[in-house]
């Protein structure tokens, strides 16, 4: 009996963990080429979540259908953000770029707060509380869908990176930008691509968030932190690592929430984060062939 509860906790952890994972993959892509941790990632996810929410509340578009609009829109937004905000400062180094990300996060958060108020939102579809029963365990339908979406997103990005020339260029530039320039790869090109994909993934995660959690304008910051934790655990600059890190984080959180009261579960997550950063910053899954950074 107890084992089936533990298993249930595990499953929930894996399901929510993939959401962190997909946010982490976006971070990982951007980090690979621009060498900054894009702190505003979580806030963009929330922006997309609001998009999905308003499409549903005002026009009645089902969130899973809204993916068709939101993901491409996020993609284009990513290109726009890079060209508009980051392109000029990319040359100035990581410091200003990091600060712009920080500023963007603050700007978007407060903008959403002013426009949408701080009330928590969630998309309440007719099937929101539907749960499947598999092997004696209840699995929430929307969480399962979020899981599927995350996997699909991961697969899409992996295919892009492995099979297309641009994807290979991104991988090359992530490993060594100087060498990439020697074969004619322009930094701005790969930066734009990773930004676009990073935002696209954020859009996907946003729809998933809207269907599974309540959110408010300031949830983004915590989401970013969780994604960073996932990335730190899994290894910066590694797509698979990001996903695994996210899942691991989800599982740790799930068990912590189960065994500990209230807010301590979050403390555990951050404590793990700090410990990993302090003592094994290359992550638990890093398998980089080039010399350790």
């Amino acid at each position: 009996m107890f084992t089936s509860i533990l298993l249930q906790v595990l499953i929930n952890g894996i399901l929510s963990g993939t959401m962190y994972g997909i946010a982490a993959i976006g971070l990982s892509l951007i980090f690979g080429t621009m060498r900054i941790v894009f702190i505003a990632q979580g806030t963009i996810i929330i922006l997309a979540a609001y998009g999905s929410y308003w499409l549903f509340s005002l026009i009645g578009i089902d969130p899973y259908v809204s993916i068709i609009f939101i993901v491409p829109a996020s993609f284009i937004l990513g290109i726009g953000f890079y060209q508009g905000l980051f392109r000029k400062v990319a040359r100035a180094g990581q410091f200003p770029t990091l600060l712009i990300a920080f500023g963007l996060m603050a700007l978007l958060e407060n903008l959403m707060f002013v426009m949408f108020t701080g009330n928590a939102r969630a998309v309440q579809t007719s099937y929101a509380s539907y749960a499947l029963t598999v092997l004696g365990m209840k699995i929430s339908f929307v969480r399962l869908m979020a899981f599927v979406m995350a996997l699909a997103g991961t697969a899409g990005v992996t295919l892009f990176l492995k099979k297309t020339m641009l994807g290979k260029a991104v991988r090359a530039a992530s490993e060594n930008l100087g060498y990439a320039m020697m074969v004619g790869i322009t930094p701005h090109t790969v930066n734009t691509i990773t930004f676009a994909f990073g935002m696209g993934l954020a859009g996907l995660a946003g729809v998933a968030t809207a269907t599974t959690y309540g959110f408010d304008p300031f949830s983004g910051f915590v989401f970013s932190l969780k994604a960073m934790i996932a990335l730190a655990i899994g290894g910066m600059g590694s797509v698979a690592g990001g996903l695994f890190g996210g899942i691991l984080l989800g599982v740790v959180e799930s068990y912590a929430a189960f065994f500990l009261t209230g807010g301590w579960a979050d403390v555990v997550s951050y404590a793990v984060f700090l410990l990993v950063l302090m003592f094994r910053p290359e992550g638990l899954f890093s398998r980089d062939m080039s010399a350790k950074l």
Binding site: K168, R171, A172, E175, N176, G178, Y179, M182, V183, M289
Partner: protein, 240 residues
């Protein structure tokens, strides 16, 4: 006499307050192998970094096929037809041999001919054909050097620049590398070679120059410099 392919005139390069190159001038003619020799820290790598677009000379000019190229970005340089094999090979260790080669054809002008270039690179270096799916980081030094040269050829350059190709390689492998250089020259490639291995560098060179603390001190044909007693004394110790 035909116009030189590459013409470097009085370039000065400074790193902050330290000057690395002083009034450096030389030219590379089409179809020849031109070697730059000198000891560590003399400025050889600085020259290549400047020629490949990573550094902008503080003064002087660089002309490629008669047009000014000093200050151009590295990406534009490759697109113009100047390809660099950097010191340390410059490979993407996490990518496979094939992927490294494919990326060599990334510049726009070389993309239409990618399959052709790939075929000739693989026939020039059969070992690469056998190891296409291996990660570049897992290969031996000699194999990596072949891959690096192969990748540089993928961009169909008019000028191939090699930075210390013999570095860290066993003598047998070094021999193979220089044989490859001779083959490429026979195919009509113009090669600029920067080397610490004086003997090999001068042996394959049509013309060469010596750089010492940022200045060109001698210019001549490969044979001339090879026989020069000063060079023997300064660089080759008791080799002969």
């Amino acid at each position: 006499m035909a116009n030189p392919l590459l013409s470097v005139t009085d370039i000065n390069v400074r790193y902050g307050d330290a000057q690395a190159l002083w009034d450096v001038s030389f030219e590379v003619r089409e179809g020849e192998v031109f070697s730059i020799i000198g000891s560590n820290g003399a400025g050889k790598s600085t020259i290549l970094r400047t020629l490949s677009g990573f550094l902008c000379p503080n003064s002087g000019k660089i002309e490629f096929f008669g047009s000014r190229v000093d200050g151009t970005s590295p990406m534009a340089m490759v697109n113009l037809g100047i390809s660099l094999v950097p010191e340390g090979r410059g490979l993407f260790s996490n990518l496979t041999v094939l992927e490294n080669l494919e990326l060599g054809a990334f510049p726009k002008r070389s993309r239409p001919l990618k399959q052709q270039s790939l075929a000739s690179a693989l026939s020039l270096f059969p070992i690469l054909a056998r190891r296409q799916s291996q990660l570049a980081g897992k290969m031996s030094g000699g194999e990596q050097q072949m891959l690096a040269i192969g990748r540089a050829l993928m961009s169909r350059p008019s000028l191939l620049m090699l930075d210390e190709p013999s570095l860290g390689l066993a003598p047998m492998v070094v021999k193979a590398v220089f044989e490859t250089i001779m083959i490429l020259k026979a195919q009509g490639m113009t090669i600029l070679l920067v080397e610490q291995n004086i003997h090999q560098a001068l042996r394959v060179a049509d013309r060469a120059c010596v750089i010492k603390t940022g200045r060109i001190t001698m210019v001549g044909t490969g044979k001339e410099l090879l026989a020069d007693p000063e060079i023997h004394r300064a660089y080759m110790g008791t080799l002969r």
